[in-house]
C-alpha cells in the first residue's frame, strides 16, 4: 500500500505494514543467503498485532469513515471485478442514438458458465481515465446504453447483474440538455418490469438517483463498507448547517451505511469485505462478490417472469415508513 491514498484512520496500519515489509525484505534478500536472520517470530507477532488492530479499527468505523472507504482510490472498481469474476466478457458500447458513455460500462459475459448481462458504473483511477469516465457520473447516454443492454438481456432470457459505484449522476448543463432526469426515470421504469432476474450490488458509492437508476433489482446487495445515500454528505451538510465541512455529522444523519440500509429493508444482504476493506485484497473481494452474486441469482433462476416481476414490484412498493391515522 503506497503511503499516498492512506486514509487518516488507516495510518497506524500503514506504519505496521511498512515495518512488516522491511522485515520481509530482509528475509527475502537473496544476496545474503548464508547470514539470514531468523525473523519468523517477529513477523508472526507483528502480523498478529496488525490483524488485531485492523479488527479493532474496522469494528468501529464511523459513517464518514465508510464514505471515505467507499471512495478509496485503491478500491476495486467495476471493471476490476468484471475481470476477476466473469468469463468471456464482451463489452458493448453505445446508446445507438448519441454517444457511448464511459461512466457506465455494459456487456455480456458468463458467470460460472451461464450468460449474464453486466452493467456498472466505472470510475477512473488516473486523471485521464477519470475524465474519460466522467468520475463515474453517468450521463443520459449511460443510462440509455444500460437500458438497451437490459432489453437485449430480456429478449434472450439472460439475467442482469449491475455494479453500483457512483457519487451521483452527471449534473452539468449538457446532461440536463439531453434529458438526464428522463434517462434515470426511464431506466427505473423499464427495470421495474424487466422479465429476467436482476441482481445489483453496491460496490463503492451508491449516490442517489445515479445509483438507483440501475439498481431496481430483485436482490440488492451492498459490500460491507459501501455507502448508499439520497444526497452526498457534503451537500446535506451545506443545506442543514450551511457548512459543507460538517459532512461527518451529515453522514451520520443520513444513515448511509450498509448496516443501516439492511435494517431499513432497503437492501437484501451485506457482502463481507476482506479485513481492512476491499482495497487490501482485490482477489478476496472478487471471490466474495462472486459468491454473493451466485447465491443471489440461483434462487431467482426458474421463477416465471410474471412472478419475478410481481415480487420485484412488491419489494419496492413496500419501501417507506409512514403512519395511517384512523378516523380521518
Amino acid at each position: 500500500m503506497a503511503s499516498l491514498n492512506v486514509l487518516d484512520f488507516e495510518k497506524s496500519i500503514a506504519e505496521l505494514d511498512e515495518n512488516l515489509s522491511k522485515l520481509h525484505q530482509i528475509v527475502e534478500d537473496r544476496n545474503n543467503p548464508q547470514n539470514k536472520p531468523d525473523l519468523a517470530g517477529q513477523i508472526a507477532e507483528l502480523e498478529e498485532h496488525r490483524t488485531a488492530l485492523l479488527s479493532a479499527l474496522f469494528a468501529n468505523l464511523t459513517p464518514w469513515d465508510k464514505v471515505l472507504l467507499a471512495r478509496h482510490v485503491k478500491r476495486p472498481y467495476t471493471l476490476d471485478y468484471v475481470g476477476a469474476i466473469f468469463e468471456d466478457w464482451t463489452e458493448l458500447h453505445g446508446d445507438r442514438m448519441f454517444a457511448d458513455d464511459g461512466a457506465i460500462v455494459a456487456g455480456l459475459a458468463k458467470l460460472d458458465g451461464q450468460p449474464v448481462a453486466v452493467i456498472g458504473h466505472q470510475k477512473g483511477r488516473d486523471l485521464k481515465q477519470r475524465q474519460q469516465r466522467n468520475f463515474g457520473s453517468a450521463r443520459p447516454e449511460g443510462f440509455r446504453k444500460a437500458g438497451r443492454i437490459m432489453q437485449m438481456a430480456a429478449k434472450f432470457g439472460i439475467p442482469v447483474v449491475t455494479l453500483i459505484d457512483t457519487a451521483a449522476a452527471a449534473a452539468d448543463i449538457a446532461a440536463d440538455e439531453r434529458g438526464i432526469s428522463e434517462a434515470i426515470a426511464r431506466s427505473m421504469f423499464e427495470m421495474a418490469t424487466l422479465p429476467v432476474p436482476i441482481v445489483s450490488i453496491i460496490i463503492g458509492e451508491g449516490g442517489s438517483g445515479g445509483a438507483l437508476g440501475i439498481a431496481v433489482a430483485d436482490r440488492v446487495l451492498m459490500l460491507e463498507h459501501a455507502v448508499y445515500s439520497v444526497i452526498p454528505p457534503e451537500g446535506c451538510a451545506a443545506i442543514l448547517w450551511r457548512d459543507p465541512e460538517r459532512k461527518s455529522d451529515a453522514a451520520a444523519a443520513l444513515n448511509l451505511t450498509a448496516q443501516r440500509a439492511l435494517e431499513l429493508c432497503i437492501i437484501d444482504d451485506i457482502v463481507p469485505e476482506p479485513l481492512g476493506g476491499a482495497h487490501r485484497d482485490w482477489a478476496e473481494s472478487a471471490e466474495s462478490v462472486k459468491a454473493a452474486l451466485l447465491q443471489s441469482l440461483r434462487p431467482l433462476t426458474g421463477i416465471p417472469a410474471p412472478t419475478l416481476v410481481a415480487q420485484r414490484y412488491e419489494k419496492f412498493r413496500r419501501m417507506g415508513r409512514f403512519t395511517e391515522l384512523e378516523g380521518v
Binding site: 449522476a169 452527471a170 449534473a171 452539468d172 448543463i173 449538457a174 446532461a175 440536463d176 440538455e177 439531453r178 434529458g179 438526464i180 432526469s181 428522463e182 434515470i184 426515470a185 426511464r186 427505473m188 421504469f189 423499464e190 421495474a192 418490469t193 442517489s208 438517483g209 438507483l212 437508476g213 439498481a215 431496481v216 448508499y228 445515500s229 439520497v230 444526497i231 451537500g235 446535506c236 451545506a238 443545506i239 442543514l240 444523519a253 443520513l254 444513515n255 448511509l256 443501516r260 440500509a261 431499513l264 432497503i266 420485484r312 414490484y313 419496492f316 412498493r317 419501501m319 417507506g320 415508513r321 409512514f322 403512519t323 395511517e324 391515522l325 384512523e326 378516523g327 380521518v328
Partner: protein, 293 residues
C-alpha cells in the same frame, strides 16, 4: 436530491414562489408581484388564477387552489388523506419542520390525491403543494403517488399528476430515495394497464421527482415559466464550466430539449386536459359550465 430553498431562479423566466409575494398594502387589498414588482389587487389576482396580469408570471398555487381551478365543481373526492409522515431516522429538526408545514398548509402532507372529473371525464388526480417542505418526496408522497396509480388501475381511470417538488426528502434518507423506484414502478404498472398518464409540471419540478414519476407520463404539460430541471443551480455551477443560458431549466427550455409536449397557460389547462383525456380514452367530454367548462 436537494430539498426546498436549493434553487436559484432566473429573474427573466422563472416566476417567484407565492411565499415571496409580499403584501405591500395594508389589509391584504393588494400584493406586489415578486417577478415584475407591479402592484396587483388581490381580487384581480385571484380572478386571474394567480397569474400576474402585468407580466403573465404563473405564481405557485396551493393544492386546494389547483384542485378548485382544475376539476368540475363538486366532483372532488379526496383519498388517502390519513397518511402522515414519521421521522424514521430521527433526523435533525424533521419533526418540527413537519409540524410547521402541517400548521401552515393545513394539509396532512404535501401531496394530495383524489378522484374528480374534468369536463365530465373521470380521473384520478394528484397534486403536490410546494409549501409543504418544498413539495419534497418522502415516504408519504411516494406512497400517495403509487396509490394514485394503483387507484387508476383498479378503477380503469386515467391519472393526472400536478408536480411541484424540490426532489426527494433528505430527512428520510434512503427511504426517500426509494420513492423514486416505487413511483417509477407504479408508473410502469399503469402503462402496462394501458391507462393514460398525464403529468402537468408546475413551478418547481426538480431532481428526484423529475427523475422519476414526473418524466414518465404519456403526455407532459407544463405551466409557462415553471422551473424544471435535474440539479439545483449550485450543483450545476459546480459541475459545469460554461454559464447556463438565460432560460435554463424553464419549461420553455425543456420544451426545446424535447421533454415537454406542450406549455399550457393556467387558464387553458382544464380544457386541454379534457381534450387530451377525450382523445386518449375515446370518451366524449361534456361542457360542465363555470370557470372550467
Amino acid at each position: 436530491m436537494p430539498p426546498d430553498g436549493w434553487f436559484r431562479r432566473k429573474s427573466k423566466f422563472a416566476p417567484a414562489p407565492a411565499a415571496q409575494i409580499v403584501a405591500q398594502v395594508p389589509d391584504g387589498v393588494a400584493i406586489k408581484c415578486a417577478q415584475c414588482s407591479e402592484i396587483i389587487f388581490t381580487k384581480d389576482f385571484e380572478k386571474n388564477l394567480k397569474v400576474c396580469p402585468h407580466c403573465g408570471s404563473h405564481h405557485r398555487l396551493t393544492a386546494a387552489e389547483r384542485i378548485a381551478y382544475t376539476v368540475d365543481e363538486g366532483s372532488w373526492v379526496e383519498l388517502f388523506a390519513n397518511l402522515r409522515s414519521v421521522d424514521p431516522l430521527h433526523f435533525k429538526e424533521y419533526d418540527s419542520k413537519l409540524a410547521k408545514s402541517v400548521q401552515v398548509t393545513g394539509l396532512g402532507d404535501g401531496f394530495v390525491v383524489g378522484t374528480a372529473a374534468v369536463s365530465g371525464l373521470p380521473l384520478v388526480l394528484g397534486v403536490s403543494d410546494f409549501r409543504f417542505m418544498g413539495g419534497s418526496m418522502g415516504s408519504v408522497a411516494g406512497e400517495k403517488v403509487a396509490r394514485a396509480m394503483e387507484e387508476g388501475i383498479a378503477r380503469r381511470l386515467p391519472v393526472v399528476l400536478f408536480t411541484a417538488s424540490g426532489g426527494a426528502r433528505m430527512q428520510e434518507g434512503l427511504l426517500s430515495l426509494m420513492q423514486m423506484a416505487k413511483t417509477s414502478a407504479a408508473a410502469a404498472r399503469l402503462a402496462e394497464a394501458k391507462l393514460p398518464y398525464i403529468v402537468v409540471m408546475t413551478d418547481a419540478t426538480m431532481a428526484g421527482v423529475l427523475a422519476s414519476y414526473a418524466s414518465l407520463g404519456d403526455i407532459h404539460l407544463a405551466e409557462p415559466g415553471a422551473l424544471i430541471g435535474f440539479a439545483g443551480a449550485r450543483v450545476v455551477a459546480q459541475a459545469t464550466v460554461q454559464k447556463p443560458p438565460e432560460d435554463y431549466q424553464t419549461a420553455e427550455w425543456q420544451l426545446g430539449r424535447g421533454q415537454i409536449d406542450s406549455i399550457v397557460p393556467r387558464r387553458d389547462l382544464p380544457q386541454t386536459l379534457a381534450t387530451l383525456l377525450s382523445l386518449l380514452t375515446g370518451r366524449a367530454s361534456v361542457n360542465t359550465g363555470g370557470l372550467n367548462g
